[in-house]
């Protein structure tokens, strides 16, 4: 690497600290990361933070505009929008994070197996995976929810399935790349058992890009959850989720725009923060090429 740009890039990168602390290094990373930490804390401590009971109806005070005591106004049932947005963070974050965790686990298993064993198995898996990968995620999720019914559990699985292909592809690409590297070849030649090679050598080396892409996918998951919620298929009332709040808000577009504006803003800001932080993490780990290699 005596090419100019390569050297310059390495100089500029400044290799110090853990990836996460490096991701926090830039001011954008600081803001995004800070927001996410705050959001997670809000979600965890929601019961102590919310000014009102998120489910308490007050039909005489429906569609109240933002003000005091309802800072973000109330919906048509007179429920406090702020409290519902705060509780919505719980639903949206946990659904999305759980879904992506499931997706990563299943995707890594499938992708690792496909990449490691190759042959017909790999072909069969990848054909299906490639096809679902290029299918709109919202359609996959809609069909899945149609099969197993609405609710948070099925939303979670629908999101998991919608993004399964992504992680399968990514893991497979990592494994295929690693398999060509000499240290793995050496291990294989030494007669190590497949599961040993996979678990001890291949997966640990493949995991960083998968985790980062998973982090970014949580953002996509939040949007997908919101869209399913918008179609009325996500969280069931009175459980608030950002998407479901906007769905009950469509009919209220005029009467009380705040019912849809605020959850939408929160979704957008959260997803932007997830993306910014993810980008910083990718930069800090210097794994951009590996992510795009899939």
């Amino acid at each position: 690497m005596s090419s100019m740009t390569g050297i310059a890039a390495r100089w500029m990168a400044g290799y110090r600290g853990t990836p996460v602390s490096r991701a926090f290094g830039s001011w954008l990373g600081k803001i995004a990361g800070g927001f996410l930490v705050l959001l997670v804390l809000t979600a965890i401590f929601a019961p102590w933070i919310t000014p009102f009971d998120y489910a308490a109806q007050d039909l005489t005070n429906g569609n109240a505009p933002p003000g005091w005591p309802h800072l973000l106004g109330t919906d048509q049932f007179g429920r406090d929008v702020l409290s519902r947005v705060i509780y919505g963070a719980r639903t949206s974050l946990s659904v999305s994070a759980t879904a992506i965790a499931i997706s990563i686990t299943a995707g890594m298993t499938l992708g690792a197996a496909a990449g490691y064993f190759g042959g017909f198995f790999e072909r069969a898996v990848m054909t299906v995976v490639d096809l679902t990968w290029s299918f709109p995620d919202i359609l996959i999720a809609l069909i899945f929810v149609a099969i197993i019914g609405p609710g948070l559990t099925s939303t979670t699985f629908a999101i998991a399935i919608a993004y399964l292909a992504q992680f399968t592809r990514l893991t497979r690409a990592q494994i295929v790349r690693l398999k060509r590297e000499t240290f793995i070849e050496a291990t294989i030649n030494l007669g190590a058992k497949p599961h040993h090679i996979l678990l001890k050598h291949l997966l640990p080396n493949a995991i960083a890009p998968v985790i980062v892409v998973g982090m970014l996918a949580i953002g996509d998951g939040i949007v997908l959850e919101a869209t399913l919620g918008f179609f009325g298929l996500g969280a069931q009332p009175p459980t608030p989720s950002w998407g479901a709040m906007m769905s009950s808000g469509t009919a209220q577009l005029f009467l009380s725009p705040w019912v849809i504006i605020f959850p939408g803003v929160v979704v957008a800001v959260t997803v932007i923060a997830v993306n910014l932080f993810g980008d910083e993490l990718i930069r800090a780990l210097d794994i951009r090429d590996r992510i795009r290699g899939s």
Partner: protein
């Protein structure tokens, strides 16, 4: 022809290159040697005016070419020089050609741009140059894609591009590093012949002292972004003054006898972010004294050469 004086290069707050000087006459070959990261390539890029590509800039010194200072030459004028009077040969032929374009157009572009030729004239010239570079069937080669060719062949194409507009100065940045040993020799011989045939000036950047010994008239030894010794090849090889130069020369395999053992230089090149104080080589230098760690040594004349060492000429 080309004279570089006290060149200093900076990337943001970092100055990976400083105090580099050398000069080159017509028909001469100048070798720049040093380990990876010593600033050889940066020097080449500075001469070619390509530093802005990677975000660097020249902060001090001058590069005089044919009486004009290139350091403050406006980009359009520089562009006329590049590929025209200044040719560049890069290190890795595998990645130096646009993989999506056929060979022909890539070479043609130079003649069309700098010699004002039309398509067919340029192609004729390309075929001719490829021929002089001992490339078989140059006409067919023009319709090939880079990936269909061997590394040595690609490097010849790169050389052809550098030669297409009849340059005065050729800068070759480690032209053989990425090639097989047998091909390396061919390419070096080719370059050597070209210099002689065309009366070119060649800046040959390499980490291989033996190549310098074979082909160069002058040599600049670089370490950690500084020139530490320079002078005529004979002088330097006969009596290397700087311990680093001595070590580099010591690395050249002298014969094929079984009992010979290759000497390496212990330690590594310092990172640009923390160049050592004083003489940059002192942490690895077997001769280092206290002063080496505090004071930057000035150049000391020795014969036709100069070395920047507090204790020049001390035996290894």
């Amino acid at each position: 022809m080309l004279e570089v004086r006290d060149l200093e290069v900076a990337f943001g707050p970092v100055a990976p290159l400083s105090g580099v000087s050398f000069s080159l006459e017509k028909g001469e070959t100048l070798g720049i040697v040093g380990e990876s990261g010593s600033g050889k390539s940066l020097t080449a890029m500075s001469v070619m005016g390509l530093l802005p590509l990677s975000g660097g800039r020249i902060t001090a010194g001058s590069i005089m070419f044919d009486g004009q200072d290139l350091t403050n030459l406006p980009e359009p004028a520089y562009r006329k020089l590049r590929g025209g009077r200044l040719g560049l040969i890069t290190q890795n032929p595998m990645t130096s050609l646009d993989p999506l374009q056929k060979i022909g157009p890539q070479v043609d572009a130079v003649a069309r741009l700098h010699l004002g030729m039309n398509a067919s004239e340029a192609r004729a010239r390309t075929v001719e140059i490829l021929g002089t570079l001992r490339i078989p069937e140059p006409g067919t080669i023009c319709n090939r894609y880079p990936h269909q060719m061997s590394g040595g062949m690609k490097q010849r194409i790169v050389i052809a591009m550098a030669l297409a507009a009849d340059p005065d100065v050729l800068v070759a940045d480690e032209p053989t590093t990425a090639l097989d040993v047998t091909v390396q020799a061919q390419i070096i011989r080719l370059l050597d012949d070209l210099v002689k045939e065309r009366d070119l000036s060649l800046v040959l950047i390499t980490h291989d002292m033996s190549v310098v010994a074979q082909t160069c008239d002058k040599v600049v030894v670089m370490y950690a972004g500084r020139a530490i010794e320079h002078g005529p090849v004979e002088a330097i090889f006969d009596a290397p003054q700087h311990p680093y130069t001595q070590a580099l020369i010591g690395c050249i395999p002298k014969g094929l006898s079984d009992d010979e053992h290759l000497t390496g230089i212990p330690g590594t090149v310092p990172n640009v972010l923390n160049y050592p104080k004083g003489c940059p080589f002192h942490p690895r230098c077997t001769q280092a004294k206290e002063i080496c760690a505090t004071d930057v040594p000035a150049f000391v004349q020795h014969g036709n050469g100069q070395a920047a060492c507090h204790f020049p000429g001390a035996p290894q």
